[in-house]
């Protein structure tokens, strides 16, 4: 293929146009270059405001439906649920139950994270370690923690040991998998920079891999938390009667056997509120201070 067929007609010349230079036109006609948005626009832009509006709307729908149904045994109203909730909090029952649940959760979550840290550190330093972690994760990740509960009961009996065992199982694989993914995604030049300074082994993991892989690690922590919380409540529903004070799951179970539906709802409300608090207050704050501030996530 010759150049002539690619170009336009060969003989045509570009018409010469005069050059010019001028002062930029007056831009004062547009007013302020940056104008603040109106108060309404700013309120609508606020995510928290929008979310609260949705919650209020849901509460109203709930209240209206419950009143229309008029069957507190099946579906207590929003007001009744809140009344029970407040009463149980002021009497200390609910707080006691939540504290019991939280204790198991923190032990389990903490142990799970510690194990995940060891496992991923080994996995990232050797190829054999990576294979071990990948194989274990592939095997155990699809296994619901609650399915291990019967086994946990045989091994650890009724009590906090079994709870911690199932929570560790639900946390460990999710966190390890995400952490390893995060480590793998660390840019090669960042790794090389770290090694350039003479970082090796554990110091390399702490100073380079963990902060660089933090977006994925944080996602893992969140998933791990959500799994752990669900597993705990489910496990407590099955047992939790053993120890002197049961957890939140036991609170719900107990209320059901007494046909106190408003209390069942109040327990569920507590589960939701704690879940929301951890996700949108604690994890949100960590996100703001870390990955968002560093521009690693928007």
């Amino acid at each position: 293929m010759s150049m002539a067929t690619l170009g336009r007609s060969e003989g045509a010349m570009l018409a010469r146009r005069p050059e010019f230079e001028i002062e930029p036109i007056d831009a004062s006609g547009i007013g302020e270059v940056a104008r603040p948005l109106s108060a309404m626009e700013r309120i609508v832009n606020n995510e928290a405001v929008r979310k609260v509006a949705i919650l209020i709307a849901l509460a109203i729908v709930w209240e209206l439906y419950a009143r229309w149904l008029n069957n507190p045994l099946l579906f207590p109203s929003f007001a009744e649920t809140v009344a029970t909730f407040v009463a149980d909090i002021s009497s200390g029952t609910l707080i006691d139950r939540v504290a019991t649940s939280m204790r198991s959760l923190i032990y389990g979550y903490g142990t799970g994270l510690a194990l995940a840290a060891v496992l991923t550190t080994v996995a990232v330093s050797t190829r054999f370690g990576t294979d071990i972690l990948n194989t274990l994760t592939a095997m155990f990740n699809p296994l619901p923690a609650i399915a291990l509960l019967p086994l946990a009961l045989i091994w650890f009996g009724l009590g906090i040991g079994s709870l911690i065992f199932v929570i560790v199982h639900s946390v460990l694989w999710a966190v390890s998998l995400n952490t390893l993914t995060g480590f793998r995604a660390v840019p090669e030049v960042l790794r090389m920079s770290g090694r350039n300074y003479g970082l090796k082994g554990l110091r390399y993991v702490i100073h380079i891999l963990i902060p660089a892989g933090f977006p994925a690690i944080l996602a893992g922590l969140k998933i791990g938390w959500a799994f752990a919380w669900r597993t705990l409540i489910a496990a407590e529903l099955v047992f939790g009667v053993s120890s002197r004070s049961g957890g939140l799951g036991w609170y719900i179970f107990e209320a059901r056997s007494e046909l106190d539906t408003a209390r069942v709802f109040s327990g569920l409300l507590a589960v939701i509120l704690i879940g929301l608090f951890v996700e949108s207050v604690i994890f949100r704050a960590i996100e703001k201070r870390t990955v968002q501030r560093w521009g690693m996530q928007h």
Partner: protein
């Protein structure tokens, strides 16, 4: 080794024809002691399907205060060679010696500056990024490290941005942080792997200028990889020209007299043409004949 030996002018070889011969003509005098000596360096790396030879028996010596540019077409193994000097690759054959000591692994005496902006730690501010290697390597401590960091940040004109996180900086600023971070360590040699390749043309020019100004002030030793002939002549005082795949030494040229102020002069053009011919002599020959045949 006596001083007079060091003071001798180094040979500029590779020009005296010998295109058929493998090795460029060697001087009879003993090899001069450089700060960094590369001897018979053969580098290989594995891809999933191939064992690639990146460089083959490369010799070179970098002296104190050299701005030593490694120039070659893409795939000639110049970046691989810099990585080997950085300690990230083990030579298949040959030696790399820094101040007479064999290079065995990465270390803060050879600070690297990469092309990619991700080399900065996004979780650290500009100041923390500069401080980090000093504190990690334990080379400078406490107030000393802080003073050095502030002074070098001032030198690269980023004082106003020292508490800003890297994601808020422009490409040129990020590169300046990377350079400052490396220079604050006062490495024996500063290794730069196409540092300005990801920048736009105007910023690149400015950065080349700033790098030369820094060099005037500090007189560090620099090893610089590029595939741009112009950049090589402007930045470099010595230019090592590597042949295409696998990289072998084609020439070592002197460009110490040429810089920004000589761009466009006949001397600059002549060196540029000479390098161009050294790099593309094999490719251009047959291609030009083809074009002639078509016309």
């Amino acid at each position: 080794m006596t001083l007079s030996a060091i003071a001798q002018p180094r040979p500029v070889h590779g020009l005296s024809g010998a295109s058929g011969g493998q090795a460029p003509p060697r001087e009879a005098s003993p090899v001069l002691p450089g700060l960094l000596e590369v001897e018979g360096l053969t580098l290989q790396y594995k891809t999933p399907n191939h064992l690639v030879t990146a460089t083959y028996r490369v010799d070179c010596a970098v002296h104190e205060q050299d701005r030593y540019v490694i120039l070659g077409p893409s795939g000639c193994g110049k970046s691989t060679m810099l990585k080997a000097v950085g300690g990230f690759m083990t030579p298949e054959e040959g030696h790399i010696r820094l101040r007479g000591r064999e290079v065995v692994g990465p270390g803060p005496d050879r600070m690297m500056v990469f092309q990619e902006f991700e080399q900065l730690m996004p979780w650290k501010t500009v100041l923390e990024n500069v401080l980090f290697p000093m504190r990690i390597a334990g080379r400078f401590k406490g107030k000393d490290a802080m003073d050095r960091a502030l002074s070098i940040i001032d030198k690269v004109k980023l004082t106003k941005f020292r508490d800003v996180y890297p994601h808020m900086l422009s490409g040129g600023m990020k590169m300046r942080v990377a350079i400052a971070r490396a220079m604050a360590m006062e490495p024996d040699i500063l290794l730069m792997d196409e540092p300005f390749a990801a920048l736009d043309a105007l910023t690149r020019r400015k950065m080349q200028d700033e790098l030369l100004q820094l060099w005037e002030q500090v007189r560090f030793t620099l090893m610089f990889v590029t595939h741009s002939i112009e950049e090589a002549i402007i930045v470099g005082s010595r230019i090592l020209v590597l042949s295409p795949h696998p990289g072998r030494v084609r020439a070592e040229l002197d460009a110490s007299q040429l810089g920004f102020d000589t761009v466009g002069t006949p001397a600059f053009g002549a060196l540029s043409d000479k390098i161009h011919n050294l790099l593309f002599e094999h490719e251009l020959g047959p291609q030009r004949q083809e074009e002639d045949a078509q016309a």
